[in-house]
Amino acid sequence: MKTLLTNCKIVNYDKTITKNILIEDGIIKSLTDDTPTADKTYDLKGKMVLPGLIDMHVHFRDPGLEYKEDIISGSYAAAAGGVTAVCPMANTKPVNDNAFITKYMVDKGKELGVCDILPVGAVSKGMHSEELTEMGEMFAAGACAFSDDGKPVLGSDVMRRALEYVSGFGGMILSHSEDKQLAGEGVIHEGEVSAITGLRGIPSETEEIMIARDILLAKLTGGHVHICHISTRDAVDLVRWGKAKGIKVTCEVTPHHFTLTEKELLGYDTNCKMNPPLRTADDVLAMKEGLKDGTIDCIATDHAPHARDEKFQEFDLAPFGITGLQTMVPLTLNLVREGVINENDFARLCSYAPAQLLRQKGRGVIEEGVMADIAVIDPDKEYVFDAKLNKSKSTNSPFMGKTLKGLCVLTFKNGKEVYKADI
């Protein structure tokens, strides 16, 4: 089976070139100026052709909470967002704290063949922050990193040993950095809007204290800590400091944290309730600065589907989290349009860098010989993100019903067309 993509403006992390892409048996056979014969040909003139995006932070709720999402619906949502590999977090039911569940996830993804599932195993058994999981076995079963995301690793002793142990396998710990005691009963950022609304606040320091600790533990152990969903100015500064010291620390930011502020909460919208919470305009600016100067390594969505009924209740009772797989492209393209980053940075932040962090060879770049995971993006397409476009089982996104600019129109996984936008 040969597929030919013509007139491709290929946007890689390092350069942009215009070529035709010949795909044969799921592999990029050649980047060429010729037009060889193929079984199927797509003319992609006017589009951006990126390596399949890699979202290293999603919640697919499978096994156990399939009413919110499962690996099938999540994979289709990923494909519709140009994402060809995801790292589902371990807070499933039961927790992904053993190789059996890890393998279940990988296999279910493979069987569908729409999006690669690179599971994140739990750091501690049951995510109880007491005993370490069998990370070696989980690695062998396909886990790509370890995290108790959703819950912080509370004890410094546990985090220390996890960083030490995982470094022996060459892996990293993804840290959901949160001082739970300081967060208390907080539900939004502590600041102007919490003062106005009477919603309890979560201070920025809740995040920063734990980030500081985790960076220092990375220094102690030589292990690699990756800070999940960074959201405050001082948190970015802490990572900047750690990197300058040569400590193995990296971090990610979500599109909502570089797009929205706490002001969204003035109307008590539960679809803007997430953890970490939306912060201030200055924090948003700091996210952009961090993306620009490279302190922030990559963009990840923290795609966190919840059923409508769960979000349609009192603000304090609604769960944290929003979906994000299908809004990463337009929101990141906003940064390109604003001049914060360029299109090669887009390819780096959403594809190449996560591939490097996850040590996934043959991903994150369009070149001869790698698997044909490709996202085709119409950067100028304006549309309303509605229920028809949404492929997730859940609709808990503040961008639902909003006009967005920049759409993934076509996605290839191993050379196979797995998504085509029908608008």
Binding site: E192, A195, T197, G198, L199, G201, P203, Y268, F315
Partner: protein
């Protein structure tokens, strides 16, 4: 001047005219409460449901009396005896009661924003009787009615609110409403009970009790919830009384201030017993104003006074 909203969810977005309209209406209703027969037929045939998801005796009683004096049928629904304990969602509960063709919900809820959430999801009118830490608009209205009654005006007065500002819906409603009517508002309390960020309030935050009461025309002390002691917010009620309580010596620094309290009072904690009972105390007149204010609100929402639909 008029009030054309479906609901009264908070003071934050009310205009000066809307607030004055409600206060003027309340002044007219105050007279009825002094009659021998305290009842008018204005809301006859209307059904008011007091939907209390959090315990309350005085506010609920005040609303109930107000409804009855307007000849409405008032029903009390308390969450402990309700289906919410069986796992029904808030909006399902509201829709079930609404299906019985009720006209007004008076709602108290433990979570901020819950009343707005209900108002957005029912065709009935909704009155906020207190939501979490957020707002308690009828308390703010009765506070202002009481001040007007005793000081003859609102514009240009110095009002001090002292206590747990962070966790007080009474404070928040007054913070939005009072400056809109020309009141100079100042706040004071232990640092653990003041929001870290007070700039959105646009009011003065004082550094000590003496500064807070100095030249004040009105001093409002807030109830200290004793359970807060366990949450690291204050070391002891004894220490609270010493640094944050209102006593005779401090009252002397004021401009012959009237003393207010939303109740129930902790004698000897936020207010000395002597001050609670002194002639300057208007704590009981506040309770009286409460009925008039709630009659005005129920009347306004319940009778087409809010404009045709």
């Amino acid at each position: 001047m008029s009030y054309s909203r479906k609901d009264l969810t908070g003071m934050i977005d009310l205009t000066k005219d809307e607030i004055l309209h409600l206060l003027d209406t309340a002044e007219k209703f105050r007279e009825i409460n002094h009659r021998d027969v305290k009842k008018v037929p204005t809301l006859k045939g209307k059904t008011i449901v007091n939907l209390f998801f959090e315990n309350s005796t005085r506010t609920r009683t005040s609303f109930e009396i107000a409804g009855k004096r307007l000849s409405a049928d008032t029903i009390n629904f308390s969450a402990s005896a309700s289906s919410t304990a069986k796992g029904e969602t808030l909006i399902d509960t509201v829709h079930n009661i609404e299906a019985m063709k009720t006209d007004i919900f008076v709602v108290r809820h433990a979570y901020s924003g819950a009343i707005k959430f209900i108002a957005e999801n029912t065709n009935a009118s909704v009155v906020n009787a207190g939501d979490g830490l957020n707002e308690h608009p009828t308390q703010s209205l009765l506070d202002m009615l009481t001040i007007k009654q005793h000081k003859g005006r609102l514009d240009g007065l110095n009002v001090a609110i002292i206590g747990d500002i962070t966790h007080s819906r009474v404070a928040r409603s007054n913070i939005w409403a009072m400056p809109r009517l020309g009141i100079n508002l100042r706040l004071f309390g232990p640092k653990t009970m003041l929001p870290r960020c007070t700039s959105p309030f646009g009011v003065k935050v004082c550094n000590n009790m003496e500064e807070a009461v100095d030249g004040a025309d009105v001093i409002m002390t807030l109830r200290i919830q004793r359970e807060r002691q366990g949450k690291l917010l204050l070391p002891s009620v004894k220490e609270y009384a010493r640094y944050f309580g209102l006593n005779a010596a401090r009252l002397k620094l004021s401009n012959n201030a009237i003393v207010m309290h939303p109740g129930p009072i902790n004698r000897g904690v936020e207010i000395s017993s002597e001050i609670a009972d002194c002639p300057q105390s208007v704590i009981l007149p506040q309770v009286e104003s409460g009925v008039a204010v709630r009659m005005a609100v129920l009347y306004t929402l319940g009778t087409g006074q809010r404009g045709g639909e």
